[in-house]
């Protein structure tokens, strides 16, 4: 939607406290690229560094930017995305996803993980696709759920 009619997806990363976040975010970036969608990662400084150190050759990552700067650009109407994946494992994650639901026209996916994934999923009260799995150290439950939605997310129209 943004550049040259290329389909784009925002991957929004919050606190990287739960180990599966970095692994699944890299997997998501890879999956989107494979399907012709350009991933843009926005996150906290620590979340970004975890991604960048894990992918020094930039095989999976493309643009990586600061979380607040990205919200500034979207609220300012400077850019938007076709898809938006928000990683959520705490109340702040829900708050950021709710903000994205309001400020962005992107199709929104709430990727909920961690020890309290089910409770957090129950707190989502805005339009989005919920992808939830109780995953803390083992990324496989969340990867499986993500595989189910990523296939059609890449081909769906807004």
């Amino acid at each position: 939607m943004t550049e040259n009619d290329e389909k784009t997806a925002l991957i929004l990363l919050g606190c990287p406290q739960v180990p599966v976040q970095t692994s699944v975010a890299l997997y998501l970036a890879y999956g989107l690229k494979q399907r012709g969608v350009r991933p843009v990662v926005a996150g906290t400084a620590a979340a970004r560094k975890l991604m960048e150190v894990a992918d020094p050759g930039r095989y999976y990552l493309d643009e990586v930017t600061d979380l607040d700067d990205m919200i500034d650009e979207i609220t300012g109407g400077e850019r938007d995305f076709d898809l938006c994946f928000v990683f959520i494992h705490n109340d702040s994650g829900v708050a950021y996803a709710g903000t994205m639901a309001y400020i962005s026209k992107a199709r929104l996916y709430a990727l909920i993980f961690g020890e309290h994934a089910e409770e957090l999923a129950g707190e989502i009260e805005f339009p989005c696709e919920i992808v939830a799995a109780k995953a803390v150290h083992n990324p496989m439950p969340l990867k499986r759920r993500l595989n189910e939605v990523m296939q059609w997310a890449a081909v769906s129209k807004r």
Binding site: G14, C15, Q17, T44, A47, L67, D68, I71, D72, I74, T75, N90, D91, S92, G93, V94, A95, Y96, G98, T99, A101, Y102, I103, E125, F126
Partner: protein, 91 residues
Amino acid sequence: MGGCLEAMKPEVVLSQTSFREAREYIKKNVREYYEVEPGYKIFDVHIIGVAPLYVGVEGEHLIFPYTKPCHGTFVVKVPGGDEIARLRKRK
């Protein structure tokens, strides 16, 4: 915390709470408050959360929720300056 907000040395009214609790606190404890949309900018920070979100005015100060990705939502109180007039104009 945003550099500008941090430099103002905000008083932390509520610490590490949820955006819902912050919303309820402002509604219950601040007489003059305004509803703002998610992403509304005060100084250099955006108000993050699910609507309705409230920003309060108490004398010359603003009271609003400030969300940090790792530490939850804080309710902070800072001198409002021109932001108070901008907020009141939205009515």
